[in-house]
Amino acid sequence: MTELSIEAAGLVKSFGETKALRGVDLNVRKGTVHAVLGPNGAGKTTAVRILATLLRPDAGYARVNGLDVLSQAGRVRESIGLTGQFASVDEDLTGTQNLVMIGQLLDLTKKEARARAAELLDWFDLTDAAGKVAKHYSGGMRRRLDLAASLVGRPSVIFLDEPTTGLDPAKREDMWDVVRRLISDGSTVLLTTQYLEEADALADEITVIDHGQVIANDTPNGLKRVVGGQRLTVRAADPAREDDLRELLTLIGGSVPSDEGRGTLTVPVDGEDVLPDVVSRLRAAGISVEELSLHLPSLDEVFFTLTGTRSTGDERTASEVSV
């Protein structure tokens, strides 16, 4: 049997009337990236906080590196790194001061802490901003500093709670590269995210949770087999051609496209190979389009497929109504 870095069973946690977790099991193999996928309010952060010894579960148990997060919390803290949803850097300290402080709290000498800080700042492209107060960092820089802070102690298990939420797409890719490098280093990464795209890009295994319960646990490919792979989204420039477009997409995708509103049609396809075919058929039919994209199912579509209901407790639902 493979060695587990994180094992949790039956985690329950309530905040007053709100049941944040209703019995969550989670097994993360050593040296892998494990994504916990779910909407806002699904219980992702609560689960991470329990595993990182910040919260006590009401019921169930959790072990990190074989150590109990309750009775051996102190030893668990020696081998974990935590990057929170909201960058937990000290805004009034410079990048260097932030990292040196963490180093000294991890028993490094001042000299070692300085060396480690310089090394990490360099790694995260923050050397130029090392002497600047974190308050003046951009959102992406703050995230990187936060991640650097969680790596000071060379943790073997790293928790990344929504590391890319709020970052623009280019910065998101940067963060993905960082995560990939962490695994190549042998660390185990538990990552929470709201994007199937992100989980698919990074994770070896994905646990989908909603309303504090695990609703699926699979490899990215396994999950995509269930929810379907790529989606093709097309919007006709001329609304009058929408019916022609629908007919064409039905032919390509083999099923009737769903109407996303404002003339946007989406249909599941086999893979990106269809794209050249789509373009040539559109040209042949003389339909000009304003939007043409291939993407993985949105979290909403994943949930719809897995549970038959739209995910709730999510501002996504609200914005959908307003569209």
Partner: protein, 285 residues
Amino acid sequence: MTAVTFDSPAGTQARPRRQFRQLRYAGVLAKRNLIKLIRTPEQFIDVTLQPIIFLVLFYYVLGGALGGSLGAGAGGRHGYLEYLLPGLLAQTIAMTSISIGQNMNADIEKGVFDRFRSLPIGRAIPLVGAVLAEFFRYLMVVVITIGFGYILGFRVETDFMSLLAAIGLAICFALAFAWISVWVGLKMRSAGSVQGVMMLLVLPLTFASSTFVPVKSMPGWLQAFVKVNPISQVVDAVRGLLLGSHANLPAGVTTATAVGWTFAWVAGILLVFFPLAMRAYVRRT
């Protein structure tokens, strides 16, 4: 970017367990709080300008009238300055302690405390570090109050050792009193309400004490409260240490008893409010 080198396998690095490490962690975090203080210099107003303004106001506005009430031989504006200064010292210290609660309240929302909680350091260390950093603010209060008092004509009537003892005692009390503010800061939902609640505590404590006027001028029921009030004990102790036989202490109080009671209160406040603050901290997530 260059590749980062990990010279030891992740997580297996043996960390030397040096002695007094919790104390060292507290020092590291005290330094953090000092850096934050220095970056926001307006945080020094209450320890620099406030004692000066209070001294000027009480000395020139009220000193003439109140000085006469001190009794034969001690009266006059100068007599009141002698009486007032140790009291103002205690009052300013109590007021100064409000800001640590406010800072704690604002600080804990920002996520950096999550980082501290995920590190293998003692639970209390982030709080202890914050209180330790206050030491420098309290030291400023004491130096500025006594220094400015000196300009107005205040003189220490005892010796240098007694002066040091008075300063040490005042700061010792302040560091204990700060835990009340820390607790309130962790309990309240906003930094503004910390100020409100602490003022409700600090104003009656500092005014219903021997700070501004002798206890014997107050009605009997109030005297009962004033006599047990911790602020009265600190004020009397500091007065005794700075002024010796001129201290104008209430009947039955000596410098030694006042110092003794001050330490009893320091211990009492710590025994109650340190655990309360810790509980509030652990529960606040």
